[in-house]
């Protein structure tokens, strides 16, 4: 059973761009094969096991959530009939529960009906303590799922949650089929290879063949709810190579229709685009490249176990004048232009999207070297004989680490130069990405261990409400040796006022007020506090051939989020 034409037209109207680009009446499966290149190949098709975009994106063609996030940050129903709200009664008046209603007549690709039991099962599947769910934080606060009738399920919270729509929103938390995954609960979840490599779903495609780390093939789901979609009969997601080779395969030789995650030098990409075979699209979500300033002392002279812990405050990054000067010395516009091109914009906030949360007047966009020098002079940091500023024997000398990536090394070189111009010495270090972002507590180079004075990386949040993202920076989330360096508060920022603000944010339901609180917290952390220096609002860059239409950039969802609307231009 599928939706009537009016309903699908309504769904389209919510996405004006789609309505413009998608051909009006396509025939299902008429456009043959879609060849997609993910140079990091998918290794599993179950987002509950891996949150990497390389795995979540291909899986999103098969398994779907109740609702997804539209490019502007609003929610659109997918399997749900409507988005729960206070008005339609979906959100309980006291914010203690959310009731989701499924669209009527939904079928799994094996022909069985989708019911509220499946939703309840998926919630229990992820929340099983023996499982180790990769997206457990999205289910935070849920005490249980209750089936009201075959189409209705209620998620109960332990306390009022003021961002109640979290679980089952977005491609990272799709609905799994209970019948298929029933044997995979708890510790067995990881070893259920057949299920994890070939989940049954409700999406436009079903898995035809999956070879982890190499290639995934998908074919039409005969039971997809829209009879006119998708236009492509088959999808092949091929892995391997690197970003440069992937860009060439699409933009220069057009061997593939679509390639993902192409962070490349802007000049190289524009030269390839000039071949006229394809285009580059950037989708802007919440990704921000930033520099974290360590508030604790990472000095190697401290005994192991005390480095980068709150026991030893940082000798000079705790001085607000130094932090502000470091921020003022950076020309974010130049970084955006030189290193990112169309893939990035200068930013002064860690909450760039949705725009309602962003600060009104970004103050950091103009570089002010003179001002930075004056500020340091005032604070008593005076240049020594080698030009490096010092106060009471403490020199402004930094170790700046990031991952190995040509773009990041260019950023490092630029920032180092600007900081040297205000009398701050910088030593650069680049760490292999896998080890930087790895969680091995024995590795000295991880991002959370932060054995450096400053470090640069990209951070993002996946749902338009940034409350849980902002909660990362509370005192109790500081990584310590006792917690095996787990915890996301990498700058080791600790402020009672900020923690109180977070509590306040979590207790406020009114949207306008929440936005105001979020802006205030953002200012405390970055705008005025400069504990982290946001640099670039990054887009996810992908390339597609000119004959492919229907692509709508969406920074919140995976790159294949609306693959059902894609078609071949004749």
């Amino acid at each position: 059973m599928t939706l009537g034409p009016t309903a699908s037209a309504l769904a389209l109207a919510a996405l004006p761009l789609t309505a413009l680009t998608a051909p009006a009446l396509a025939e299902r499966g008429a456009d043959g094969e879609l060849r997609v290149l993910y140079w990091q190949a998918p290794t599993v098709l179950n987002p509950y096991l891996s949150t990497g975009a390389k795995d979540v994106d291909p899986a999103s063609m098969v398994i779907e959530p109740l609702a997804q996030v539209a490019p502007d940050g609003s929610l659109t129903p997918v399997l749900a009939a409507e988005i729960p709200s206070l008005e339609n009664g979906g959100i309980a008046a006291d914010y203690s529960a959310v009731t989701w209603k499924l669209k009527p007549g939904l079928l799994w690709s094996d022909g069985s009906p989708v019911t509220a039991e499946d939703v309840k099962f998926t919630a229990e599947y992820c929340m099983d303590p023996a499982f180790g769910c990769a997206v457990l934080q999205e289910f935070e606060g849920i005490t249980g799922a209750e089936v009201l009738d075959a189409q209705t399920v209620r998620l109960n919270f332990d306390a009022p949650r003021f961002a109640p729509l979290q679980a089952f929103v977005g491609g990272r938390t799709p609905i799994l089929q209970k019948a298929q995954f029933a044997a995979c609960k708890g510790a067995a979840g990881v070893s259920c290879t057949a299920q994890n490599f070939g989940p049954l779903g409700t999406g436009p495609y079903k898995v035809a063949d999956f070879r982890p780390g190499d290639v995934a093939q998908f074919e039409l789901n005969p039971n997809y709810r829209d009879a006119a979609k998708p236009a492509f009969a088959r999808v092949t997601v091929k892995g391997g190579g690197d970003a440069m080779a992937a860009a060439r395969a699409v933009l220069e030789s057009a061997e593939y229709d679509f390639a993902w995650n192409l962070q490349l030098p802007p000049e190289a990409v524009s030269a390839m685009e000039a071949a006229g075979k394809g285009r580059v699209v950037a989708s802007f979500g919440s990704m921000v490249e930033r520099i974290d300033l360590n508030q604790t002392n990472p000095s190697p002279e401290l005994p192991e176990g005390e480095r980068s812990t709150v026991k030893h405050p940082h000798p000079f990054l705790t001085d607000p004048a130094v932090r502000k000067a470091l921020s003022m010395a950076i020309d974010r516009q130049i970084i955006a232009e030189l290193a990112y091109g169309p893939a990035g914009k200068a930013t002064c906030t860690i909450l760039p999207m949705p725009e309602a949360y962003a600060p009104e007047a970004p103050a950091c966009l103009t570089q002010d070297l003179e001002g930075a020098r004056a500020l340091l002079d005032q604070a008593g940091w005076v240049p020594g004989p080698d030009g490096i500023r010092a106060k009471d024997g403490t020199r402004l000398a930094l170790l700046f680490q990031t991952t190995v990536n040509p773009v990041r090394q260019d950023e490092q070189a630029l920032v180092k130069q600007w900081w040297s111009e205000i009398g701050v010495e910088t030593e650069l270090k680049a760490v292999d990405g896998a080890s930087f972002f790895g969680a091995d507590p024995g590795n000295p180079d991880t991002q959370t261990k932060f054995y450096a004075d400053v470090e640069m990386y990209t951070d993002a949040y996946y749902l338009p409400d940034p409350a849980s993202f902002l909660s990362k920076f509370t005192c109790d989330r500081i990584p310590t040796p006792e917690t095996q360096w787990q915890g996301n508060n990498t700058p080791r920022f600790c402020d009672a006022g900020y923690d109180a603000g977070i509590t306040e944010l979590h207790a406020t339901g009114d949207l306008a007020q929440r936005q105001q609180f979020a802006r205030k917290l953002d200012a405390q952390l970055v705008g005025d506090g400069n504990y982290a220096l946001p640099l670039i609002h990054r887009g996810m860059v992908s390339a597609h051939v000119n004959t492919l239409s229907g692509i709508v950039p969406n920074g919140w969802e995976g790159q294949l989020w609306n693959v059902a609307d894609w078609s071949r231009v004749k």
Binding site: M244, L264, P265, E267, A268, A271, P300, I334, L338, T403, V404, P406, Q409, D410, Q412, A413, L414, K416, Q417, E427, L428, K429, A430, V431, D432, N443, P444, D445
Partner: protein, 326 residues
């Protein structure tokens, strides 16, 4: 050109002088015949007649001068970012152009070459010393042969890159604290490359020594009671110098390339520290737009390796008394 009879005298001379001339009767053919000539002057004369080796020597010396003296004359800071002047071609202000951040390529080539050549030479000498020592000892002393060769095989069986990564992860920080980030990395990289690339040399040298041991002149030297250390230094080593030379020339190339691979993985020198390998890797993404940025460091690496190869070739010919004079 020397006469054949001279050659005969010479050959006898260089060999006969060896086993300890003081032990020989005073009626020494050297003193009796040709005027006194040092062995190294002969080697040099022979070397000069090898045209390829001479060209290579000139080239190698000029590369060394370029990287050693160049930075004194061309004083632009190789890490100075001038983004208004980025991606420039060849000009008076920047003879080799600028890179994507406007850093001067000539200055970067010179500084990068210092590091790369130093890494190549030092790592090669470590590998060579280790390799020839183990090769000669295991070839000459039968009792040590089996254990040393098993050790060589053990090292050959180890996957090199993971081993290098492990060494770098373990020792980078303690060394960096003692010697500074660049000095620590240098020591670590050259010793890491050195101790992981001596095996081929050792095996080749051992094979040659085994063959040499059965030759008559060794037997003769043994029969007059030459002790083992002098035997090795005077008779064995000069005769296995050619395979060692070949291994050395290849070793420099491998060391330069391994260094760039390590830099590429983020385990080499700090990212703002130019080396030829890093310059090459940095430029690969924009190869089509700015081919010179790839060609220049690539050409310097190739020229260095090639010239060292030719010099090695010439040296081997010059040091082999059987070829000398032909």
């Amino acid at each position: 050109m020397t006469e054949p009879s001279d050659l005969l005298v010479e050959e006898t001379a260089s060999n006969a002088a060896a086993p300890g001339a003081e032990a020989l009767p005073p009626a020494n053919p050297v003193e009796a015949g040709a005027p006194a000539r040092s062995q190294w002057r002969d080697v040099w004369r022979q070397f000069r007649s090898h045209r390829g080796a001479m060209v290579a020597l000139v080239l190698f010396v000029s590369i060394i001068l370029f990287v050693a003296i160049g930075p004194w004359l061309w004083t632009i800071d190789p890490t100075f970012v001038d983004y208004r002047a980025r991606n420039q071609g060849f000009s008076m202000a920047h003879p080799l152009g600028t890179d994507q951040l406007g850093r001067d390529m000539l200055a970067r080539m010179m500084t990068g070459g210092r590091v790369s050549i130093a890494v190549g030479l030092v790592a090669m000498s470590i590998a060579l010393t280790l390799g020839s020592l183990i090769g000669v000892v295991s070839g000459y002393f039968k009792r040590l042969d089996a254990p040393l060769m098993r050790l060589t095989e053990l090292f050959l069986a180890l996957p090199l890159l993971p081993l290098l990564l492990l060494m770098v992860t373990l020792f980078r920080e303690p060394l960096g604290q003692k010697l500074g980030p660049a000095g620590g990395t240098f020591l670590l990289i050259v010793s890491a490359i050195g101790v992981t690339s001596w095996m081929q040399t050792a095996r080749i040298v051992r094979g040659d020594v085994l063959g040499l041991k059965e030759r008559e002149f060794i037997l003769a030297a043994k029969s007059i009671g030459t002790p083992a250390p002098r035997m090795i230094l005077r008779h064995v080593l000069p005769n296995v110098i050619s395979p060692i030379m070949v291994a050395a020339t290849l070793g420099i190339a491998t060391a330069i390339i391994t260094e760039s691979a390590l830099s590429f993985l983020g385990l080499g020198f700090p990212p703002d520290f130019p080396t030829w390998g890093r310059l090459l890797f940095d430029a690969v993404d924009q190869m089509q737009q700015y081919p010179w940025r790839v060609i220049l460091p690539g050409a310097f690496i190739s020229l260095t390796v090639l010239s060292v190869n030719y010099i090695g070739d010439g040296l081997r010919d010059a040091m082999d008394p059987r070829i000398r004079g032909r």
